[in-house]
Symmetry: C2
Subunit: 102 residues, 2 copies
DNA sequence: TAGCGGTACTATGTGAGACAAGGTAGCGTC
DNA sequence: GACGCTACCTTGTCTCACATAGTACCGCTA
């Protein structure tokens, strides 16, 4: 039902700033999604790329191997908007259920 | 990440009132979870029963076959509490991410 | 200069949850 | 007796999340 939520979060992070897998993982961890690992993020990123929601480009790094930077394109922004709509709807339904008196 | 949310909702509904699969499905639908089907609910119910979170009992129905009524037991109430804790944590993290300025 | 730790990406396999699809059956009514 | 509603269960499939493991670049230091 709420599957694809992590994917939405990744879209949001990319929307805020053009970035890359390793940094996205660190960002998610510091945002409180503690047990999200690189493997998880990279599979999401590849999926997003395959679905044509992000544009990727290689950039040299100051330290370590080159980075694969991702930017949201128009389709990605549309997807993000529908994701938030879905999220708002479902999360408020769940909160209603939680708060409702028997 | 948020998987098991539907399961939590089902636990909540049973916690509010001892009830059965068919009615739970109708309840979820009218609560706004429109595309939840009976098959989905029954698999959740069987899982809950197997995990010892609910107690089941057959009851005759006024119309139609007998109902399998479910009630939350102590373990189920504990599970529901930890589910809400998890939900509160994750949903507020996601809302923070949503509301945050780039 | 070899090794270590941090950065950075990729591939592959697994498990569980959500869902579709289909089947069985009791009961009331037209 | 066919239809429609109630009520349950089974089986298969897809995808997401996650684990695991491997490759490789770079800077530091012992």
């Amino acid at each position: 039902m709420l599957k694809g939520t992590l994917e939405g979060c990744v879209l949001r992070i990319i929307d805020a700033e053009e970035t890359y897998g390793y940094a996205i993982t660190r960002r998610l961890n510091e945002l409180g999604f503690a047990d999200v690992t690189e493997g998880t993020v990279y599979t999401i990123l590849l999926r997003l790329e395959k679905r044509g929601l992000v544009d990727a480009s290689k950039r040299p790094s100051e330290q370590g191997p080159p980075r694969k930077c991702y930017a949201l394109n128009a389709a990605g922004r549309r997807e993000l908007a529908t994701f938030w709509a879905r999220w708002d709807y479902l999360s408020s339904r769940i909160n209603e259920l939680k708060e409702s008196r028997p």
